[in-house]
Chain length 190, copies 2
Amino acid sequence: MKHLPELHSQFDLSEARIDRGQLVERRLSDLAGCFEDEDSFAKSLAKGNPLIYQVSSQEPGNGLGDMHFGIGMLMPGRIGDEYYLTKGHLHESREAAEVYICLSGTGAMLLEHEQTGDVQLVPMTSHSFVYVPGYTAHRTVNTGIEPLRYIGVYPANAGHDYQTIAKRGFRHRVVATTDGPQLLLRESHS
Amino acid sequence: MKHLPELHSQFDLSEARIDRGQLVERRLSDLAGCFEDEDSFAKSLAKGNPLIYQVSSQEPGNGLGDMHFGIGMLMPGRIGDEYYLTKGHLHESREAAEVYICLSGTGAMLLEHEQTGDVQLVPMTSHSFVYVPGYTAHRTVNTGIEPLRYIGVYPANAGHDYQTIAKRGFRHRVVATTDGPQLLLRESHS
């Protein structure tokens, strides 16, 4: 009997880390340009540079039919009225979907179809799946008061295209209102 | 703003069910031929036909790059010294991998590579990933005393080939011993 330990990976949900995972941390300064209210961003950054989110991921194989996976944690907070968010990305292989499994916290997945422009704000609630179809820019926002923790699974050939988002941005943003989270057009796109 | 609710699916971990999921239930009678000890199987079945496992799954898309997912629950128990198990399968698209996320319980994933014959018994512990590579027959066993609950994510084109397993069977089985779970060659294969 062979035990090939790399096929089994314990994860720590509280810390959002996978054993032998590759860790990426994004601090506030890494998110320059992502928030609409640049004054509030500058004021927040002057006070400190907190961790906004981290992703611990594994890439067990890179062949046809292989998959990669990661566990993410997005902290609660806002810049002005805009909730903390991930940079967001498209997949380099545009057709690649992604399955998200939200395990704790409250948030939403902002989806913008690259070609049709269709937009959706899909709830992320504890113990739910969120399906991100292909050809869709996706960004996670934390609309709650606790860390949002989730797993993502995607085809090994998906790849991450952050450049297109960095250049064009999302057309919408998710803001706190007295009626709860609302989706608004960004001023630069309105 | 459009809410397309089919992209968000709440799941009940305790019941292992996904909203709008397709449910498959396997009772003891459905597992005829899977256990080595046919006398014990017949005796158990004479006493009742309990649920052994269930899988609730969703297939959000079937195009290139799409993925399917499901949540499974395998009950604890034994037939003779052999732990309760799933039928097990290969993927019709042999190269397709599968990512399992074990969320509660204690068990193992029995892996047998179709071509090389390599065998592995990979632990399934609460809060762990188990990566099932392509070309690999895989079967879940519950070696604990509580239900084993897990999520599986796989390419939409993976498909499930149960026939090859039904015909040839797994070459190994997982049995309870005083030293804990052990992997043995089946008598019909030894």
